[in-house]
């Protein structure tokens, strides 16, 4: 079991003409791809254009993807090349990499510069989403919160979390799912009017 296997299942469906499966891949990696592209351009709308172009390029190249590398490695490479080509076509250089924190983490300075160029609407929406998610996490029972934080923030596997929380792997799986379900439910409640992110596809 691996992220590669789950991605490969979706890739194979998309290769057989299932565009919804490719939508799922986009939904999964859109934040990471935008995060990556933002290291090359600071304008969020420009980053969105580049990310969109990268996903479209990936879709066109999908018949030639044979799974020799992980899908996320492949799409990251496409996104980086797209960003570089975008800058080269405009005779510009990538923004300062010093703005990135360790391990690719976005530094506060970087976030501040991104806010400078984001539209008020986009900023308001992003801030609202963050506050909703953070509030929902705060309301989680301790064992669920700890499990989701260990997974998402520290990137630990279920087995590692089980060892750390001294519980079976199945319990870890259940706790993480329940944490996500609670946050997902809260997001749906707030954005039922149409601002929710996942509902626009499908």
């Amino acid at each position: 079991m691996s992220a590669e296997a789950s991605d490969l299942s979706l890739v194979q469906l998309a290769q057989r003409g299932d565009t919804a499966a490719f939508d799922a891949l986009v939904l999964r990696y859109q934040h990471k791809v935008v995060n990556l592209v933002m290291r090359y351009v600071r304008d969020p709308s420009e980053a969105e254009d580049i990310a969109q172009e990268a996903f479209i390029k990936a879709y066109r190249a999908l018949p030639r993807f044979r799974g020799d590398s992980a899908f996320y490695t492949w799409i990251y490479r496409i996104a980086i090349n797209t960003a570089k080509n975008h800058l080269a076509a405009r005779g510009r250089s990538p923004i300062d990499y010093d703005l990135d924190g360790p391990d690719g983490e976005v530094s506060p300075e970087m976030q501040a510069r991104m806010k400078d160029t984001a539209t008020p609407e986009a900023l308001a929406l992003t801030d609202e989403i963050r506050s909703i998610v953070n509030a929902a996490i705060d309301q989680l029972p301790e064992d669920l919160r700890r499990a989701i934080v260990l997974r998402e923030l520290e990137g630990k596997s279920y087995e590692e979390i089980a060892a750390e929380m001294n519980c079976p792997v199945g319990t870890v799986r259940s706790r993480i799912f329940r944490a996500r379900e609670a946050i997902d439910t809260r997001l749906r409640e707030v954005f039922e009017g149409g601002l929710g992110r996942g509902e626009v596809i499908g």
Binding site: M1, R16, P63, E152, L187
Partner: protein, 246 residues
């Protein structure tokens, strides 16, 4: 846990790469069919990005990609990766004619081995002489094949007579042959003492054929082949093949 929760639990595990591989295909199919599952899937990504304080993708990115792909030609489900084209053999220009000669030489060698039946002088002698005359005429004065049987002798003796008069053949057959004035043979050995068909030493026969057919071989190579063969196949020192096999 209800069936819906079980499916969502599988989805969550798949998002983390913790779902057994055997279940991934089934959950992927559900995900592609069910918009609600895709919405949850999308929010899972959002939750992770918020927890890691990553910049969030603009909310319209995924719909824009989806809309753009709608105008793309559909992926052909039957399309296969392009086959790797067979790379043509790239030879340098000078090597093309050489390669042709090499093929011809190879075919000639195969033909020689095919026809060269050890122990059957009628066949071997009769096939060598015409070739020697037509392909490597200048060499005939050196390659003089002695008659092994009367029928072959009539074919052989006429050919080298003029040449051998102008340039005597090298003496290789032993003292008595050198003084008798007869054509000297280093190809056909003497009949063995039991009077059976003469056994032909294979190396000597091969050298003779190579000599007769090698119109393109270098003179130095020819002579070295002959010299080496003569050293091995001297009928005075080398037992016949038939005797060796016993």
């Amino acid at each position: 846990m209800s069936e819906q929760n079980e499916r969502a639990s599988q989805l969550s595990a798949m998002f983390d790469g913790e779902l057994p591989d055997a279940e991934c295909e089934l959950v992927a199919r559900r995900l592609s069919r069910d918009p609600e599952l895709r919405r949850s899937w999308s929010n899972y990504g959002l939750i992770g990005a918020v927890l890691r304080s990553e910049p969030l993708a603009p909310s319209q990115l995924a719909p824009r990609v989806h809309a753009a792909l709608a105008s793309e030609p559909a992926i052909d489900p039957n399309a296969k990766p392009e086959p790797v084209a067979e790379r043509p053999l790239h030879l340098p220009r000078w090597a093309v004619p050489v390669s042709g000669v090499g093929v011809a030489a190879g075919l000639a060698a195969v033909a020689v081995f095919w026809w060269a039946v050890p122990g059957d002088p009628n066949v071997s002698t009769a096939t060598v002489v015409p070739s020697a005359q037509s392909v490597a005429a200048p060499l005939i004065e050196e390659v003089v094949i002695a008659p092994a049987v009367p029928a072959a002798a009539t074919l052989v003796a006429a050919a080298p007579s003029a040449a051998s008069a102008a340039a005597p053949a090298p003496v290789v057959g032993g003292p008595e042959a050198a003084t008798s004035g007869e054509p000297i043979s280093y190809v056909t050995p003497r009949p063995n003492s039991r009077g059976s068909a003469p056994a032909v030493p294979l190396p000597a026969q091969l050298a003779s054929y190579v000599e007769a057919h090698s119109a393109v071989s270098a003179p130095m190579i020819r002579h070295s082949v002959i010299s080496a063969t003569m050293a091995v196949s001297d009928p005075e020192t080398t037992p016949p093949v038939e005797a060796e096999g016993r």
